[in-house]
Amino acid sequence: MYGWIWRHLPGNAWVRALISLVLALIVVYVLFQYVFPWAEPLLPFNDVTVDNGMAAVR
């Protein structure tokens, strides 16, 4: 998979490395900015209040 991406990137090894880094940063950005904030409330890690079991709908 990563080998396939590497082979399809243009330029020499340095250019490819640079592009790879940028792609990786974009992925991290998308995860931190959109995916994790969306996923976090769905996971049972950070409910701090006492409630009647209605936390999911609040």
């Binding site: 080998g3 995860l31 994790f36 996923a39 049972p44 701090v48 409630d51």
Partner: protein, 237 residues
């Protein structure tokens, strides 16, 4: 790997290598999620809370110091009603208190007072329970060190014009998350049976999970007017 002649063996190898790469990627994403939860949300929440706190303090300063004669209670439910100080959680520990315990409010790195299922009483009410919740981890992690609070410790709420000094009298280090009775106006679970002026802090426990709730109860010892310099009460010095 050259693509000359994809024999069955080679095909299987490449499928396995893709699966392996996906597994590694999944592991990395999970690791990133931990970094996100325990570090990045704190960065965002602390930034947000610092700004919000500053705004409240500026507002108070504009309205003119503490004892200007008017019984201003500092009840501004949008920006926050005041600050909670807990010396046991750090010398300069303070957290802005806002209305509500929804995820949206608590994720701003503040403590929220309950509106549901039992609405909190305000510290200036004659009797009642001032019930608060905040995150144990991530999003500011304002109650991360709640386990450092012990019986007899001071918990101080600072409103615009008054310091409310509470003394912790009971700690419940584990209870069900459905134990809404801990936020009752007379918290019987803490051993009190008469109406009084109580404060209740709730968060999740053990750390990094939400399996149980940790509860700290205190009751009002005294109040002190805020002076022009906002001199903190002796408990905070």
């Amino acid at each position: 790997m050259s693509t000359s002649k994809p024999s069955g063996r080679r095909r299987a190898a490449s499928v396995i290598s893709v699966i392996g790469e996906l597994l590694i990627t999944g592991g990395l994403v999970l690791a990133l999620f931990v970094v996100y939860s325990l570090w990045w949300t704190n960065v965002l929440a602390d930034r947000h809370a610092a700004k919000a706190s500053q705004k409240v303090r500026q507002q108070w300063a504009q309205d003119g110091g503490g004892n200007n004669g008017t019984p201003a209670l500092g009840l501004d439910t949008k920006d926050g009603i005041g600050f909670l100080h807990v010396p046991a959680m750090g010398r300069n520990y303070q957290v802005l208190v806002k209305k509500g315990t929804s995820t949206k409010v608590l994720n701003e790195g503040v403590a929220g007072y309950y509106t549901d299922p039992t609405p909190a009483a305000m510290p200036w009410d004659k009797t009642g329970n001032f019930t608060l919740a905040a995150h144990r981890d991530g999003h500011g992690a304002k109650f991360h060190n709640i386990n450092k609070i012990h019986t007899g410790d001071a918990v101080v709420f600072e409103s615009k014009d008054t310091w409310y000094v509470y003394k912790v009298y009971k700690v419940l280090d584990q209870t069900s998350k459905y134990d809404v009775a801990v936020t009752d106006q007379v918290p019987k679970e803490s051993g009190r049976t008469k109406p009084g002026r109580y404060i209740t802090l709730t968060t999740c426990t053990p750390v990094y999970t939400s399996r149980y709730r940790y509860v700290v109860w205190g009751e009002l010892v005294r109040t002190q007017k805020v002076d022009a310099q906002r001199t903190p009460p002796p408990e905070l010095r």
